[in-house]
Amino acid sequence: MALTRKDIEYIAHLARLEVHEDEIPAYTDKLGKIIGFIDALDAAETGDLLPMAHPLNMSQRLRPDVVTAADQRDVYQQNAAEKEGGLYIVPRVVE
């Protein structure tokens, strides 16, 4: 299926990626090829097979409700671009 400019813009926005005007042709071309390639799945006879979400045939393990993590804020925040008073700082978010 061919992808339109609108498709590219919509997906890019959902994924929070910036797509410049001059990148649109490359995206429509390459993503179009990829989508064309995966369209092969359409022909597969899957009948009433259940979807396989995971290769492991196990159930979820549960951990006891115990606090094990100590406060390491200062260590963890060393990787943050902007922080103040223990908070991570971002441009103003309007609610």
Partner: protein
């Protein structure tokens, strides 16, 4: 050690006999990196100082008589594994300056066994690629021919081992990222079953497919390392608590009377020379008393399309955490939160990563989920069932690891689909969660090709056993890049 490669097992013997010290081994490794890596570009970070300090500690431990068998041997970690205090970049601008506050389980276990990391190896960005060309730090060169790709995504690890910089390096395999570069660099690459090795601390690409693996010179070395890294980890819900068998003990078993299944579909359109190399390998097994049987994987053509729906879908979500707020690259000067996200992610991620995020977002989006993602999950079951059916007949599946030997750098960058088709023989093992290994089995046009062996779930011991028995009766794994012995 300059022109000679030593296996882990050989190094362990040399250390134990006192013929060499850990410091000497580590210095030799660092010297090889110094001499070769400006050309190969296999490393993103080299930790010479900490490695030498660790080597001295290892020598002291050995002197006191409390060293393990592998204590003091230099190795390398793929730069996708978090290493406390050492940059972990995932070969991305996004994590160029990221220093993990913790060690991945694989790293923790190898450190605990006394192995010494000399650095972090180059890779495709976030492990997305089959050629190592998507790395923010530039492509790795194949030691057999610097104009060619070492494969990917664990290309740096494969090149480092092939060139004798280290005897072993870790890798990760989501769709073939351990086995394919091992094949293209003429070494051994082992991917255990999904759930056998903890994923904790391994930066996620596609969580239901990712598995840590080993790049080494021999199946025996792969067994030594797998023994250390396999087994339960309470920090990973998808890590199995099944006991880990003694892989070393299993290596010696005879393959006589065992059945090897060869999917006829593997040979549809395969390069003649590659096919010949495979048949020669099958003959070795016949001579060892194994039976070669035709089996069928009727849905093989669907494996790559399925993989390229499931893996980008998971990746698109896994990579959402890179938003410039808590860690990683952040774009300057964004006025509002939306711009912060978009500018950060557009600059921080490379083209292939962005393409996969876009593909993954698309196949999960409203209106397309059923047609792509859900359908791919059903086909995944179909492929998994096909594999299971084969294992009702045979002990192991054998065939080529890749359709061709190493391709030229730049040859496939413009056509993502051609690049993706490199994974045709490897992705099924990931989709089904099975263990697989690639061992060198010949040269085509002077370049190595790999024989791939795939076993049933949690049959690591059998896969390693088959590979080891082959290596006892072949010399391809001993060839140095260039084709000399």
């Amino acid at each position: 050690m300059a022109e000679q490669r030593h296996t882990l097992a050989e190094m362990a013997r040399l250390l134990e006999s006192g013929a060499i010290s850990s410091r000497e081994l580590t210095e030799a490794s660092l010297a090889r990196i110094e001499a070769r890596d400006s050309e190969l570009n296999a490393f993103i970070t080299v930790t010479a100082e900490t490695a030498l300090a660790a080597a001295d500690r290892a020598d002291q431990q050995r002197a006191k008589g409390n060293a393990g068998p592998l204590t003091g041997i230099p190795i390398a970690q793929k730069d996708i594994f978090c290493t406390a205090g050492v940059a972990t970049t995932c070969a991305s601008r996004m994590l160029e300056n990221f220093v993990s506050p913790y060690d991945a389980t694989v790293v923790e276990r190898l450190n605990a066994a006394g192995l010494i990391s000399v650095g972090k190896t180059n890779m495709d960005e976030f492990a997305m690629g089959s050629s190592n060309e998507t790395s923010y730090f530039g492509a790795v060169k194949n030691p057999w021919d610097p104009a060619r790709s070492p494969g990917g995504s664990s290309g740096g690890s494969a090149a480092a081992v092939a060139a004798g910089l280290v005897p072993m390096a870790t890798g990760t395999d989501t769709g073939g990222s351990v086995r394919q570069p091992a094949a293209l660099c003429g070494i051994t690459g082992f991917k255990p079953s999904y759930g056998r090795v903890s994923r904790y601390g391994m930066i996620a690409f596609a969580s239901s497919l990712d598995q840590a693996g080993v790049l080494a010179l021999t199946a025996e070395d792969a067994a030594l390392i797998t023994q250390l890294i396999a087994g339960f980890d309470e920090r990973d819900s998808t890590c199995s608590d099944q006991p880990v068998p003694d892989y070393m003990a299993a290596l010696a078993s005879s393959v006589a009377g065992k059945k090897i299944g060869v999917p006829t579909e593997y040979f549809d359109g395969l390069d003649d020379n590659c096919a010949q190399a495979m048949h020669a390998a099958f003959d070795v097994y016949r001579q060892l008393g194994a039976e070669i049987i035709d089996v069928h994987l009727p849905n093989l053509p669907l494996a790559v399309p399925t993989y390229y729906v499931v893996s980008p879908a998971e990746a698109s979500s896994n990579l959402s955490r890179f938003d410039g707020i808590r860690f990683g690259y952040r774009a300057d000067g964004a006025e509002d939160i939306e711009s912060l996200y978009k500018q950060t992610r557009s600059v921080g991620f490379g083209d292939e990563v962005k393409r996969r995020i876009m593909t993954g977002t698309y196949v999960l989006s409203a209106g397309y989920y059923d047609a792509y993602y859900l359908k791919a999950q059903k086909v995944r079951q179909l492929i998994s069932n096909d594999m299971a059916r084969c294992f009702e007949q045979v002990d192991i599946i054998a065939g080529p690891t890749t359709p061709t030997p190493a391709f030229r750098l730049g040859e496939k960058v413009d056509d993502p689909v051609q690049m993706y088709l490199n994974d045709i023989y490897t992705v099924s093992a990931n989709l089904a969660g099975l263990p697989g290994i690639s061992v060198p089995c010949g040269l085509v046009d002077g370049l190595p090709v790999g024989l791939q062996l795939i076993g049933p779930h949690f049959a690591e011991a059998a896969v390693l056993n088959f590979a080891h028995q082959y290596q006892l009766h072949s010399d391809w794994h001993k060839l140095l890049p260039g084709g000399t012995n």
